[in-house]
Symmetry: C2
Subunit: 147 residues, 2 copies
DNA sequence: TAATAATAGTTGTCATGACAAATATATTCC
DNA sequence: GGAATATATTTGTCATGACAACTATTATTA
């Protein structure tokens, strides 16, 4: 039962930490007067690094599914951070582009992101950092395969 | 930018792994014909180990907030897995009790939970296991303090 | 070419989670 | 004792995410 309790926690600890990270991002953005959620930021940031992606590409990049991306892009479009343009050769697809305001939002928020990142890793070593990503990716792979 | 990209991923990797874990739980429960979500299971499991908790206690245990717990208990009650009983001395509070069906559901699902847990840690060492919890808890603490 | 299948995206429904505001009951303090 | 506070829970609103079903467009293939 001790072992069982300990084990239960992987999901719970992942979940609560993930939620806390997202909450801190949300609060940081709000404090800067940038009205976006962490998930919206992930999209904007992805576009900042590669503009003009389709929704399917954005979904793959963030491991989100199509409906989720569709709705996030809707919101970002309403807020004026992003624009949909149809592909020339394939009228099913959109290319999503950051607007000037979208680019500005990403840049405004960047120091806060760096700061939060730094804060996350306080009291932890470089080895911890490396290990953490290795382990969490292995867990992801373990559960993502076939099954 | 390389450093920046790497860093961005802590939130994303936490999030995607957390989501995958929850999805696998959901699928495992469904396959067993047990109609509960991972979050509902966390509540049931908490009650299985300590029956009669109040919603506030359940919230603290799972780091969820009061409205979320209230709604999860609503659903579990509708499904017949849980019962609300008022405290004798404090009529604001409920004690939440597992029903027979609730207990049965927890027990039915337990092997699948163990199995998923084992699968999560394949290709990882005992040290990885220990490190992972140490690191993720430190990250949680880093972000949870004051700020 | 016409029928079929595949792909891109949207919409509907439900559960979770964050926040604010509400209700009901208990506690504190003057 | 009664007013102000605090606590336990509920309800409303919105965003995200999972799934299924849908539309529109493109590709395949018989």
């Amino acid at each position: 039962m001790d072992e069982y309790d300990e084990a239960k926690k992987i999901g719970s600890y992942l979940e609560r930490t993930s939620r806390l990270v997202k909450l801190r991002y949300l609060q940081a953005f709000a404090q800067l007067g940038v009205d976006i959620t962490p998930e919206q930021w992930v999209m904007l940031d992805s576009l900042y690094h590669r503009n003009g992606q389709s929704q399917t590409e954005l979904a793959g990049d963030s491991y989100k599914n199509a409906p989720t991306v569709s709705r996030i892009i809707d919101l970002l479009e309403k807020k004026g951070f992003v624009e949909r343009q149809r592909f020339e050769n394939d009228r099913r697809r959109y290319k999503i582009f950051l607007t000037t305001a979208g680019t500005a939002a990403v840049e405004k928020v960047q120091p806060a992101v760096s700061s939060l990142r730094q804060q996350s890793w306080e009291n932890l070593s470089d080895a911890d950092y490396t290990d953490f990503f290795r382990i969490i990716n292995q867990v992801f792979e373990n559960l993502n395969g076939g099954n």
